[in-house]
């Protein structure tokens, strides 16, 4: 694994994430967030008649639409410069982005050989509090798929074309919740097309 995101830099990011979370963020009880997300998923189950593929897809799209906009706030609040490499990106996602938005710091793990993919291990996922998946959903529903969409959308806005998907989820009986981010390519540095 490359160590270009040096220890010092990681520490700086960690301090930054904590500082923004502590001082620059209006907070609400995460229960409310959990409930609201749960209500949305439950409605989708009803609308799509438990076609979990469609639900995954809808949650992903919902996340994408959040991601492309939430990145603005993120950049404004943290004033972070463009990441120089994917290692740094991973640290920023875990120690700053997740921290600032959800007060979580997922563990970074399983770097690919070519250093273009890594996993986030999410523990204490606020979305999945209270949730018990019914048996028919255990195999096909990615309950927290909104995260994938958010990351996809946000990364795209900073010129990183990535594939983001879940590998495993405690809700499905797996022993950890793992989300994989794979970099496809760095997009050309052009003004992204934002339709108004």
């Amino acid at each position: 694994m490359s160590s270009s995101a040096g220890q010092q830099q990681i520490k700086t990011l960690k301090v930054l994430g904590e500082d923004v979370w502590k001082n620059k963020v209006e907070k609400i009880n995460s229960e409310l967030f959990t409930l609201t997300y749960g209500t949305i998923v439950s409605q989708l189950c009803q609308d799509y008649d438990r076609d979990f593929e469609k639900i995954n897809d809808e949650l992903y799209k919902m996340g994408y639409n959040i991601g492309v906009r939430i990145i603005e706030d993120f950049l404004a609040r943290t004033a972070l410069p463009r990441c120089t490499d994917f290692n740094t990106t991973s640290e920023v996602i875990s120690k700053v982005a997740f921290k600032v938005f959800l007060n979580l710091t997922p563990t970074i793990a399983n770097w690919s050989q070519s250093n273009d993919a890594f996993s986030l291990i999410i523990s204490d996922n606020p979305l999945s509090d209270f949730v018990e998946l019914p048996i028919d959903a255990m195999k096909s529903l990615w309950y927290s798929n909104v995260y994938c969409g958010v990351l996809k959308g946000a990364l795209e806005m900073v010129q990183l074309d990535c594939d983001v998907s879940f590998v495993s989820d405690i809700l499905r009986g797996d022993n950890q919740t793992e989300l994989r981010i794979k970099l496809n390519k760095v997009l050309k540095d052009e003004i992204p097309v934002i339709e108004d």
Partner: protein
């Protein structure tokens, strides 16, 4: 209709049933506050975005359901290509609303949003009741007290601000007025075509924003249901109202919202 204006500022809990003085909290209240502060938290912005995304998602679901209805033969084909389709941006979906000619479709979308609000309202009420807030005594609440609870506690929780004004005729009719309804606060439509008159543009804007008003409509009905007022006997409608003169100038959405709530059976918890 005889209306009696409530003290216009209900944001202060000065009625005796709600002892709430910041300078002298009881031990119970202090404990409760500490407990609330100790609960896990997230960033409110994330919550706001999630809440707002309910509307375009509901539209997107309708599009997809209609798609499979229209040509179930082509459904398989569509299924294959669906993941390749670019995501339709939320604001595009929302601005579709005013173009929807099919009333059934339009109403389905609004109904879906209301249902989400309703479920959410029920859960929030259950949660707030269970939280044992020493400032709230649900057992002793009458309908007016419950509406005040909606205006202060529920609104504050979900939208980060309280309702600005509550009016009632004391016979089951209430007007909850929010002059800066948070989810749409920063909405302003651009005229892509540059062909619309100011009037047309406003009409389009108001129409696009309408679905955002259905979520709180559902929430209000859900809270009432959870506290013993059957949703079938509750009417709730949202309408635009003009901002008071002194507020009209500041930047933001051009209208206030009035939620008209009518509880036809004001006896709590009718037995079947």
């Amino acid at each position: 209709m005889q209306q009696q204006q409530q003290p216009s500022n209900i944001t202060r809990r000065h009625d005796p049933s709600h002892p709430h003085h910041h300078h002298q909290l009881t031990e119970e209240q202090q404990q409760f506050q500490l407990f609330q502060e100790s609960l896990p938290k997230i960033n409110r912005l994330v919550y706001q975005m999630l809440l707002n995304e309910i509307i375009p998602t509901s539209i997107s679901v309708q599009n997809r359901l209609d798609e499979s209805d229209d040509n179930s033969d082509a459904e398989q084909l569509k299924k294959l290509s669906i993941s390749e389709k670019p995501v339709v941006p939320s604001h595009k979906l929302v601005s579709q609303m005013h173009e929807i000619k099919n009333e059934g479709r339009y109403n389905n979308i609004l109904e879906r949003i209301r249902t989400i609000g309703f479920k959410l309202g029920c859960k929030i009420a259950d949660l707030l009741v269970f939280a044992n807030n020493p400032n709230l005594n649900f057992r002793d609440m009458d309908l007016l007290a419950i509406m005040k609870f909606v205006c202060r506690d529920v609104w504050k929780l979900v939208f980060g601000k309280q309702i600005d004004n509550l009016k009632t005729n004391h016979r089951g009719t209430f007007y909850l007025i929010d002059y800066s309804y948070q989810p749409i606060k920063n909405f302003a439509l651009n005229d892509d075509t540059n062909k619309l008159s100011a009037e047309e543009l406003e009409k389009k804007e108001l129409k696009s924003v309408e679905p955002f008003l259905e979520l709180p409509v559902g929430i209000i009905k859900g809270v009432l249901e959870a506290l013993g007022y059957n949703a079938k006997e509750t009417i709730c409608l949202a309408t635009y109202i003009d901002l008071p003169n002194e507020d009209a100038s500041h930047y933001g959405f051009s209208k206030g919202i009035s939620f008209h709530v009518q509880v036809t059976n004001t006896t709590r918890q009718q037995q079947p």
